[in-house]
Symmetry: C2
Subunit: 468 residues, 2 copies
């Protein structure tokens, strides 16, 4: 889940609602009383009570995921809009090891310090934070609804199943809880990226599939200078590793366009025009040339047009997540998580998808992760811990997914019970429903938000009744 490196970040506070930024004194290691973590760290959170019916209204709690919490606050306007209607207190909590919530400051990614970065620790952080903040704010009786998108949505699901004593219900948007737990088909992800483009113009698929083959042939036949010039690469791709890196970067451009195929331009995980999948000049597809792959690169990695050439290794960073890890501390953290609990051994193969054959097997993962972080992944752990597809005993969770989102089919697409509700949004990309309302919103997301609002209001009402 790469953050693109092209972003011109707007001033957070200009765009975000009226949040106060605060820090919570958090337990470093919830699961070992004698570890190096026998202390506390400062965990950042954002809070606004501007809509709150103090002491009575619910608490809407965003379970922060892999990035700066302001980034999520700015791009999750649905929560504050809903809070205004339902009189809720809103909290966005930053995930440990991301943003400014670094337990050991700049040493956080050393070994063994990085070892306290786990899903379990993050959930315990949220459980402890909610419990203490409720006390502090006189909100003991206020039901808590958790919200999250993508990995944050996974965390919302986990919070509800792990801490139903603390969390009344969860809206998990675009949460690939199955595919990240090693369940399902490893070809699904890139197959679904492919499907997005195919759906828009069926000829695309063949054109791109062919273009990748041609690019590969060209590389084999020493056409590297030609490739360098056509793709405006800063350096000549002189090794097989460089070519592999180029393939990864190109595949990822398509992935990002599919994931972020919103009906208006956005600044989330990078900058993207409205309807990026449609923006491509698909007449190029007629040319049957490898170089039709250039255009996506420009859209995704050079939205501002300021780059004069592309540096393969800084624009796309290969890691244990086959969609890339970006740069900086946040990307280290995500790579570590993909090396430990979050399983993403997705492959493309140029048969079930339009991309070059690039596998990422469990063996490759183990090799990479041992070398990079000194860890051995434990396949199956997430399924053991968070129940995989065996959710029969859970309740009060909405699983929303957009049909345009390649992560969607790695999540729950069919309701499992009257209180485990799947909401599918035909015209939705990656957790579009969590974004603030927009004049360009398709009808399907408007309907989804309406349904989500009603369900959440019901949960809150029922919880209030029980506690009174």
């Amino acid at each position: 889940m790469e953050k693109l490196n092209n972003e011109v970040t707007p001033s957070h506070r200009d765009l975000a609602p009226d949040f106060k930024e605060k820090y919570f004194k958090q337990v470093l290691d919830h699961f070992n009383y004698n570890s190096l973590g026998n202390g506390t760290y400062d965990q950042r959170y954002l809070i606004t009570d501007q809509s709150w019916k103090k002491g009575n209204g619910p608490i809407f709690f965003y379970t922060g995921n892999e990035g700066d919490i302001w980034e999520f606050a700015r791009n999750t306007g649905f929560i504050t809009e809903l809070a205004a209607v339902q009189g809720a207190l809103v909290i966005f909590a930053e995930h440990r090891y991301y943003g400014k919530s670094l337990p050991f400051g700049k040493d956080s990614f050393n070994i063994p310090e990085v070892g306290l970065l786990t899903v379990e620790q993050a959930l315990a952080d949220y459980a402890v934070m909610i419990t203490e903040l409720k006390e502090e704010l006189g909100a003991q009786k206020c039901p808590v609804i958790v919200f999250g998108g993508s990995y944050g949505g996974m965390l919302s699901v986990y919070m509800r199943i792990r801490y139903p004593n603390i969390v009344t219900g969860a809206l998990a948007a675009s949460a690939p809880i199955l595919s990240t737990a090693g369940l399902g088909d490893s070809r699904q992800f890139f197959q679904d990226v492919t499907a997005d483009f195919e759906k828009f113009k069926p000829a695309c698929r063949d054109a791109v599939q062919g273009a990748f083959q041609k690019l590969n042939t060209l590389a084999q036949q020493k056409g590297i200078h030609c490739i360098q010039s056509a793709f405006s690469l800063c350096k000549t791709p002189s090794t097989p590793k460089d070519i592999h890196q180029l393939m990864g970067l190109l595949r990822n451009a398509f992935t990002m366009m599919a994931m972020l195929d919103y009906p208006y331009s956005t600044h989330f995980m990078g900058s993207m025009p409205a309807f990026p999948v449609k923006v491509l000049d698909w007449s190029l597809a007629q040319k049957a040339s490898a170089f039709i792959l250039c255009r996506p690169t420009g859209i995704v990695y050079n939205s501002t047009g300021q780059l004069t050439c592309y540096d393969l290794y800084s624009l796309y960073v290969e890691c244990a997540d086959p969609t890339g890890c970006g740069l900086g501390f946040d990307s280290y953290a995500w790579d570590y998580q993909a090396c430990t609990e979050i399983e993403m051994c997705y492959e493309s193969n140029n048969v079930t998808d339009m991309f070059p054959p690039m596998a990422f097997t469990e063996q490759q993962r183990e090799q990479y992760c041992s070398k990079r972080w000194g860890v051995v992944p434990r396949p199956g752990w997430l399924k053991t811990q968070y129940w995989g597809d065996d959710l029969a005993t859970a309740s009060n969770i909405i699983f929303s997914n957009g049909d345009l989102d390649p992560w969607a089919n790695g999540g729950i697409r069919k309701s499992l019970s009257p209180s485990l509700i799947a909401i599918n949004i035909p015209e939705g990309a990656h957790h579009l429903d969590l974004r603030e309302s927009n004049p360009n919103d398709p009808e399907s997301v408007i309907m989804a938000r309406k349904e989500e609002s009603e369900i959440i209001a019901r949960w809150v009402k029922a919880a209030m009744k029980e506690s009174s």
Copy 2:
């Protein structure tokens, strides 16, 4: 939950059913991929398939608690009896840091090695063990029912709420899930020990209450030689600490008699005659002397009659559990757990109970635990983690309790829903229902076992139906 030090252990294998003793290669640290625990240890378990309908019958899994697993296998005959009727595979798993399941051998109780002793690690051990053994034994479709007594019963509850994907139902016998999570009245425990004796003979209470007062006066008035001779102490109790230790030892004698007030003689947590509460010669109560407190000491600490004098500090070891910790590695482990997650700040006060005023406050706990183990307890943690009394979303748990057991009122005494069932056994001591059937069993425990059997059969049947 002391193990008495007077036990003449019978050869385990003579009394236990036909178990095979095995070891499971277990993950050392489930919650940190970069810790000192980046490896495995050998976790002991006992297994018998003598009644199992291979591949079809359920799995009865005992979630081992604070001691040698053979001790529990020998004293939990109900499970094997039930397995014979229901065609179940039986596994008794040993808790990490107890018995022979020492993750770091003799270094296990060093700091920081001891840090991997937590409830969470123990539960994850069981989750991983069940998952892998099912695979290995071709038992993927077999529903798992967990059983446990006392702390083991708490673990059974936790397994069901934490891993309902793995565990179909739980029989939690005498599991004080509330009082060990800091919920309820800290005076309840010794009040209920008192009630047992009072119920048998109302005059007892006043006699014992007065005797403790007299003993205290005697100690103040330099009557220590008199005390030494009357109580057959090996050494003169010359300091206030010695007197405090004597008081603790005496209080504990009554506690053990109440807990282990079984209708036949037993060898569990020490040796005890049948009906120990009745065994006392209560005519002594008429004497209104401090020395009526001698007799319980003899029953509890000198059942074999081999001791010629009592050594205060080896017979009773004060620790973070107000009922004492015994000797040896198992007692270190339990002390550590009482210093971290398991909260037992129980007090006696000579008003609501018949014992000397002996408090164990959260402050005293913190002081002791910091000094002994370098840890700071986190009150409220168990409630956060395992839901406290907020069990509304849980299902398929039997909470059985005996009315004679001072731990009972620290547990769930009323059914919370049709699938969260309290079974109370008027004539039952500490998890009597888990013991094998005996000609001296009172009717109430026979009825309880029958009800438990029927409920478990229903759970298994329903789970089989779902998975087919």
